[in-house]
Symmetry: C2
Subunit: 338 residues, 2 copies
Amino acid sequence: MRLPSPLPQFRYAQIVALWALLLIGGCATVRTDPLPSWNEGKVKQSIVGFVAKVTTQGSPDFVPIPERIATFDNDGTLWAEQPLYSQLFFVFERVKVLAPQHPEWRTVEPFASVLKGDLKGALSGGDKSLVELIGATSTGMSTAEFATMVSQWLATAKHPRFDQPYTSMVYQPMIELLAYLRANGFKTFIVSGGGIEFMRPWTERVYGVPPEQVVGSSGKTQFEMRDGKPVLMRLPELGFIDDGPGKPVGINLHIGRRPIFAFGNSDGDLQMLQWTAACSGVCFMGLVHHTDAVREWAYDRQSSIGRLDKALDEAQAKGWTVVDMKQDWNVIFSFEKK
Amino acid sequence: MRLPSPLPQFRYAQIVALWALLLIGGCATVRTDPLPSWNEGKVKQSIVGFVAKVTTQGSPDFVPIPERIATFDNDGTLWAEQPLYSQLFFVFERVKVLAPQHPEWRTVEPFASVLKGDLKGALSGGDKSLVELIGATSTGMSTAEFATMVSQWLATAKHPRFDQPYTSMVYQPMIELLAYLRANGFKTFIVSGGGIEFMRPWTERVYGVPPEQVVGSSGKTQFEMRDGKPVLMRLPELGFIDDGPGKPVGINLHIGRRPIFAFGNSDGDLQMLQWTAACSGVCFMGLVHHTDAVREWAYDRQSSIGRLDKALDEAQAKGWTVVDMKQDWNVIFSFEKK
């Protein structure tokens, strides 16, 4: 059947209606799973359920947007920390680059071990060795120069096991979680024991977390005029260690508001989780448990890097969410996604 | 003339067209002056012109939203600092409240002078006296207890000259400027020599600046468990002085990105302005010059509070914006607005 030719007015109406539909359609939400790398189960449900509770207007657990603060540990929570923290690979690389200017390093520890490739030996001196290594390689230059160094290293360095750039060694499920929380009005922060200036050059690009939402360990800096230009010089002086009991201190100093959502993976995150758990309303505490020796690593109570022992006990006792990496994540690294 | 009755289709078209217009209309901007308390002139023009430049897509000076960082000093820039910094009035009040528990204060300086109401005498010991007063009145309690104290004091204390709550002693033109910048995609920060935890309980309500965007001076805190509850105790130990050359250090530590817009009022802001002026593109540096002895105060090169000397010279030499309070502001305090 052929319809009669429409009146000119009706054709105009059709165009207007189409526009109106497009405008209205632009506002409608397309519902797809925001956490596709998380397998269905009680862990995923605990996250989605919590977010629904605090974002539903009129719910007794509703939290206004400015108070939706979420904090994430970095090493072992957002990216891999085995066989060593990435920042240590950076420091070891800097020792090698600077060695020709320091012939004495060939016989002085911990430098000698680093130059011989004996990483275990290099770290046998504990925190004292670490502070010495960082002092010798990451201070004495401006903050801008240090940021350039970090970016240049990340552009070429590859992880020893996976042969991927370190910034690809990030957990795809956690990238999805960060984006999901932000889409629900959360402000996402990193609260890491790692160096604050080691993280800031890349966290915005990789995690969507801007520099002002990164909390970390830091050395002291000093304002100076050099050739009439202001610079901040990195001094070989420890400022703040954002780990363990330092995490609530760092959260208070940088954020000034208690998180309602926190995720960690080791005993170094226990106090951050305890601080979060003391919230006045509902709050979410999560741990990543590394249980997949095939796709990533399996480690917890005995590991020297990222030991998870006391925090695992407390999580089990208090009913915090514990991610079983092997079971709960169908993708681990972002580079597995094409 | 009576129009012929429209066809049913056309009536439908009218409704749809109306909806489309409403939807489109909802996106249109109503143009009113966002800075009504600023008189027309080159100062106001320098602000509006800068914002237009950095927010116009395709302009060579366009700055992406995440990089639109604006930093404001607090005392003398956002609220009054005469005859004394408000935090000092708070500290003096605390000395009086705590005096019965410290009979020795009646004879020990600087406490004795405070108790006699001799504020000049109390401050004659300089920074050492200040640190002692703050240590004795603002430490030894938890961060939560301190925040409650500040809020309670602000709820009742009145400014000695204007008989207004201290949080009404804020500059209406600057409140408008903060809102105007935020409406143009800027993130607004406070970078003050004042105590970070003295400011955070009220900056969100008064300035629209959330706690995580407040940078200030701080003492050390320590994580402790008290009766099974985690607390952060305020230690009588100086942490960081966010003043003068400390301001770029504080900006780097808390924000990690150089501001493109900064406003101060004293020599304590000079390094923040220099740090901002070393931006890679265009940037805005502003000073509030207190020139109105009738409506506020007139002070600059000779003042012990808020001295403006070197920064005024540098502003004049480099063409930074200098607000002449008397001439450029038609309203000063927020309480003048009804």
